[in-house]
Amino acid sequence: MLLDPEFLIVQTLNGLQLSALLFLLSIGLSVVFGLINFINLAHGTLFMLGAYFALSAARAFDSFWLVLLVAPVGVAVVGGLLYLVLLRHMQRADPMKQVLVTFGLIFVGLESVMIVWGPLPHTIDVPALLAGSSSVLGQVYPTYRLFIIALGLAVFLLLYLGLERTRLGAIVRAGVDNRTMVAALGIDIGLVFFLVFCLGCGLAGLAGVVAAPVFSIFPGMDMSVLILALIVVVLGGPGSLKGAGLGSLIIGIADTYGQVLVPELARVTIYALMALILIFKPAGLVPVRSGH
């Protein structure tokens, strides 16, 4: 079956699609982790929130494109509020407390979603333009999934340009590399963190919006992606854009093929991969920090 070209093409596209989603989801987590060594377990919750915001926005507006814009902004605002109210004060706390505060947020998020939108699953429609299927190398493939791949790629390129070409990008790069130095240059590093944090939350929200038509929207969709996103971050190297891209690609492809080819081990192998990377390359495949 591995040599069957039809299977290979469709499966590879599936892998890329999952990679694109994982990338959107994990890049925010990765940069925040890299910048302030902060693990946000509630990142999956923001993903879920993105999907639910999309649900409400889709009821309010008719345009999917508007939803695609509004819902992530909504999530970014929520993220920003969380930062200002709660997380900002946690930066100096030890990692355990950071992890546990965001752990508490998972429960709060889950129940809030159930109170507002109810416990039953919801769906939103794919926009007419992207509904249906396209032909890729002779294979029928859902157009919307191609759109997800393209979106992931576009966001990667935009972030890459942003990091390389803008002043904010340069500060972020420097901040991941050596935080005290940036602070010593008299840059308001707190503001930079805030902006980056909001952007990361917005991207998680964007992943939620994009995922909503494919996955259906239900309480608990946060848990199903959180651990995968953490694995991507660790694998690629915290704080690295290229690392997040590479990690997403590896996990997306490995998970897609692994599930089908060795279903007995599918999930165990991915956790084991994360453990191995942590042991032998704790800084990830694309390490950013230059030693001290």
Partner: protein, 336 residues
């Protein structure tokens, strides 16, 4: 030394008195709760040894709990072992696995240690979820309790079983307290405070951490074996990482590093969960009983509050209070 932690034994004594009083006063259900608290306390204390004493924050500790529970379930149901032998087997299996895992995990620190333990705990979860022999996701029932009929005791009776659990929890506490106050325990405390300096004084830090990790895993396995006996049932949920998270909350709530605090935290946690999810509790507060449906929201907020406000936990607050009262007393004595 004695000055450093003056309220440890008084608080432990107080808890013991409360436990005994509760045992006498409790009905059937109260004793079930008491047994649950005792087992959770053992689990929380084993985590406290890692987190509070040695400073190793594990988010995969539930994996060893599950391992112990499954080992007991397997040994009793498949091989027909007596529960006591199965218990020893559980402790050995969980301890050995913890040592194996620790070999790699103790090389990492801080956030990375949290992440690797999370990954490994989830590995156990994924494994048990698929383990057809153990009923997969449906879990497996049929684990028997200790057979104390030669002593004329029926462990099926919650009164007997909860008393037994309290005794075991007490024994684990005493053992851990002795350990913490031994030179080895002192080393673990010092590792928590300043690992590098301890190494430069000649301490093979990783080996000590490994020993602590293995020991913590073994005791978690003990808790798991008791839990399997208590519920008669094992399921993959025991290994899920949120249980490790809840145990961490318990440790912080009680006061990390204080052992007896972890036990007290377990009691508070179980009672709180029991009340928050009970409609009549909310009605008692003159609120709508429907809030009970969303009790996890309240629990989540409580978690956040604990982490933000608890600082050194219930035990720490108590300690501080006693200090204040004492110095006020001394101040008055000095003036007179």
């Amino acid at each position: 030394m004695r000055e450093r932690d003056p309220i440890q034994l008084p608080v432990a004594g107080l808890l013991a008195v409360i436990a005994v009083a509760a045992w006498f006063g409790a009905g059937y259900f109260g004793q079930e709760l008491l047994a649950e608290i005792a087992i959770l306390a053992i689990f929380a204390m084993s985590l406290d040894l890692l987190v509070g004493v040695a400073g190793m924050v594990s988010l995969g500790h539930a994996g060893f709990l599950a391992l112990g529970a499954y080992a007991t379930a397997g040994a009793t149901v498949f091989w027909g072992w007596p529960p006591a032998a199965a218990l020893a087997f559980s402790v050995a299996v969980a301890g050995a696995c913890a040592l194996g895992v620790g070999l790699f995990a103790v090389r990492l620190g801080g956030v990375f240690f949290i992440m690797i333990t999370l990954a490994i705990g989830q590995m156990f979860y994924a494994y048990f979820f698929k383990a057809r022999a153990f009923g997969g996701d449906n879990g497996m029932s049929g684990t028997p309790r200790f057979d104390l009929s030669p002593l004329g005791l029926e462990t099926g009776d919650p009164a007997v079983f909860s008393a037994l659990m309290l005794v075991i929890a007490g024994a684990v506490y005493v053992a851990l307290l002795l350990l913490v106050r031994s030179p080895f325990g002192m080393m673990l405390t010092a590792i928590h405070q300043n690992e590098n300096r301890l190494a430069s004084l000649g301490c093979p830090v990783r080996r000590y951490k490994l020993a602590a990790f293995g020991l913590g895993g073994a005791i978690a396995g003990l808790a798991g074996a008791l839990m399997a006996q208590h519920t008669g049932f094992v399921s993959p949920d025991l290994a899920f990482w949120t249980l490790s998270g809840e145990a961490l909350i318990i440790v912080i709530l009680g006061g990390s590093g204080s052992l007896v605090g972890a036990a007290g935290g377990a009691a508070v946690f179980v009672m709180l969960r029991d009340h928050l999810s009970d409609g009549s509790f909310w009605e008692g507060l003159r609120l709508s009983g429907d809030i009970a449906t969303h009790w996890q929201l309240v629990m989540g907020l409580f978690f956040i509050a604990v982490v933000l406000l608890a600082r050194d936990g219930l035990y720490g607050r108590l300690s501080w209070l006693v200090d204040r009262v004492r110095s006020a007393w001394r101040g008055r004595g000095g003036g007179a």
